[in-house]
Structure formats: C-alpha cells, structure tokens
Symmetry: C2
Subunit: 251 residues, 2 copies
Amino acid sequence: MAGCLHLLPVQLGPADTATTHPPGVLTTLQRLDYFIVERAKTARADLRKLGHPAQLASLVIEELAAQPEKLDQAELDRLLAPILAGKDGGLMSEAGCPAVADPGALVVRRAHELGIQVVPHVGPSSLLLALMASGLNGQSFRFHGYLPIQTEARQRAIAEIEAESARRNQTELFIETPYRNLAMLDALLLHLKDSTRLCIASGLTTTEERITTRSVADWKRTRKQAGQPDLDRQPAIFLLLATTARGDKRR
Amino acid sequence: MAGCLHLLPVQLGPADTATTHPPGVLTTLQRLDYFIVERAKTARADLRKLGHPAQLASLVIEELAAQPEKLDQAELDRLLAPILAGKDGGLMSEAGCPAVADPGALVVRRAHELGIQVVPHVGPSSLLLALMASGLNGQSFRFHGYLPIQTEARQRAIAEIEAESARRNQTELFIETPYRNLAMLDALLLHLKDSTRLCIASGLTTTEERITTRSVADWKRTRKQAGQPDLDRQPAIFLLLATTARGDKRR
C-alpha cells in the first residue's frame, strides 16, 4: 500500500516554532526520512529549525528540478516512487506552504493521479495571514503571483487589476521580489486611484511584522511626511481593493 | 496606548488542537478576556475546546450584527472601544480564519483606521489546506465565495469561471452550504468540460478528511461505478482548473 504525501509548511522568517507550527505537525515532520523540496540546502536548515532529530545526512532529500513547472512525468514518478512503494514522504517549499505561491503543485497533482493520499498540514502562509489582517474583502479575492516587471506592462496590469477589483469588489493579492518592493510601491502610488485601499504586509510572523492598510491618498501623504516605508529586502505581500462605483462617492 | 486585535483561527471540525494550533497561538487566546465573534454560543464552545481557562461567563463576548457586511461605523467603534482604550482583544469566526471567507473584515478594516495593531495568527484555513492539497495551480487562484443558487445563473457562473480559468491558467475556488454539495457536484459535472480538473476537499483536519482531484470525465466515470461521493452535510471546498487552449489536446 502506498504511503502518504505530507504537505509541510516551513517558516516565513526567524520566529519561534511555537507560534508557527502545531506540535502534531512537527511530530509528523520529525518521523519522516524522505523529503521532496525546492532546494536541499534551505530544506536542511528548515528541518533543523523544525526539530528533526536525525542526522540530516541520513535523510533522503530530493530537489525539484530548477524549473519545477517543467517537471515531466518520468521525473515526477521518480520523486514519488518511494511513496508509491509504501514510505511516507514530505513536500516542503522555500517558505510557507508548499504548492501555494510556490512550486510543488505538479508533485501533488501526480500524487493524486497515482492514488497517493495527500495530507495538507496547518502552518504559516504569508498570503493567508496578509489577507486575514488586511481588512480588505476576504469573501472574494484573487492571487496573481508576480506582476510584469517591464514598465508599461506593469502599468497595464495595475490598471486592469484595479478595474477588476472595483467591478467585483474583489481583493487582489500579488508579490514582488524583496529588492523591488519600493519600485512596486512607487508604481502603485503612481497608477492607482486615490480612493483604492492598499495593504502591504511584510515580515509576517517575525519580530519585523508590519501590516499597513491605507487609501492610496493616505499612502502618498504618509510617504511625503515620513519617507519610504521600511520595505527594502523584506518579503512582502501587496493587496488592494478598489472602491466600487456605487460605494465610491468621489467618482 | 491601544491594545492589539488578535485574529484567532478556530477549528474546522472535530480535531486535536495539537494538529490545528501552534501552542503560542493558544497561549495568546487563553490570556484574552475580550472577544468579537460571529455567534457567542459557538465562540464559547470554541474557547472551551481551545483551552481557555476562565469561567466563560466572566469573558466579554461581543457578537457581530446579524448582517456583518452592514455594520455601521458607530457599531464598529463600539466593538473596538475596549481595544482602543488599551485592552487586547480577539476576533474569531465560526470556523477557520476570521475575515477570510467569513465576516469580520470590516472590524479589521476599522481597526487599521483607528491605528490599532492587527496581529494575524497561524491556524486552520479550509481554503488554504484545500488549495495546497488540490495539486491545482497555487501560483494563480481566485476565491468566489458562494456561486448563485438559481439554476440558470449558476450554469452561467460555472461557464464563466471555467472560461476564465482556461484563459488565465487560474485555479477557481468556491464553497457551498453542506446540504447542497451534491447538487453542486451534479451541476459541475453537467456543465464543465470533460478535461477540466475538479478537486473536492471535505472534512479537512478531521478524521473524515477527503481530498479528491480528478478530471470531470473521471468524476463522471467514478460516479457511474461507485455512486455519489460521501459529501452530504460535510463542509466542502470546490476547486477547478480548466485546461488551457494550448495544453488541452482534446480541443
């Protein structure tokens, strides 16, 4: 009989595991000796932090290919073979929950096709924590991943996202690589309407956690008075909710 | 100085808190004596399960109005007044994470406006667990809440969602009230393309947890052979991912 594929969240940054992981999830992780991960080096450090008792060299840690979206079926079957043969295994990503805003979904998809039981575990997800804490609409939302980098394509994407948000009263979430956070904020304040609400959540679950929701007008005012927010090199989630045509008296 | 508004996930169903809550989150919950909740009765049962040590009658438990999306500012300010005055408080919903697929977001939004620090905590979210475990695209997804109930409106919604999923390679998530789950499955199998992948996740975190991802063609075949899946009266998440025009050789 096949083993289980355990989906194991890892930490988002420096934090006490007592605030990020249920003890039962750590117990599951600590009894596994087969892991499928994004990068073995980070995974070893995470396993250490999450209290894995084994000599790390004794664990089998398989890396997803450099381009996980191009994993072919033979490679997926190779990664899942020990689990299909009866061993329980763990899937982990670089931060947060595997297969959410992160590679790994193809492994889970193939596990379903092979009849392997998939067990998701509770743990930190920056998207979910940010959405919860934003005060924006949590009953209708969309996650985009990264927006385009090129200036005009990005401007177009921002305008489209804002229009869709207004049309559907839908919160729009996206991420940026940390060193481009301030450039993203500049672009957002340049192109969004003053009435749109923008939340930036950074350093979630760490002592640097900062979650700020303001209208674009207030973000501009605050930046004029207090300078750029402290976002550089911090993993951040951006969330916006445009005011609907009916709700926005300024239009 | 104002207190903090702690966003406290509660359980999704019968489960050991050791698998659903980090101990630090329970410690935070257990030291609070002011709670804003959907329904006081459920909240008291949840506080008991999550180990709150106080006589529950000694806690102040404020209910959101019957129509939380219509809370006016005076009512929000009344709910947040003790926190603004310096007391820490907790926000909880009926299941899972407050303000996600659930009311409570207006309380969080007003807390931001009043300068109250908002602290999201790690815990079970059926949406996130389902997305992680579905094997569908976790890098682009959208949550719709409930689809329309009326037959033609529902059919139109399903077709629109499937088309959008194909266009954007985007996972679409929605929920249904438990006693309508099988009717929802019927509608999905009637209107979706055979190649679309459909995941149904029910009983998450409980001993009844069941997460199944199949193509619509396979769902139909399995239903013909094995009858309706065991979904009646189970809280369930529905997720679908249509094949993109390029990826689907059947079109």
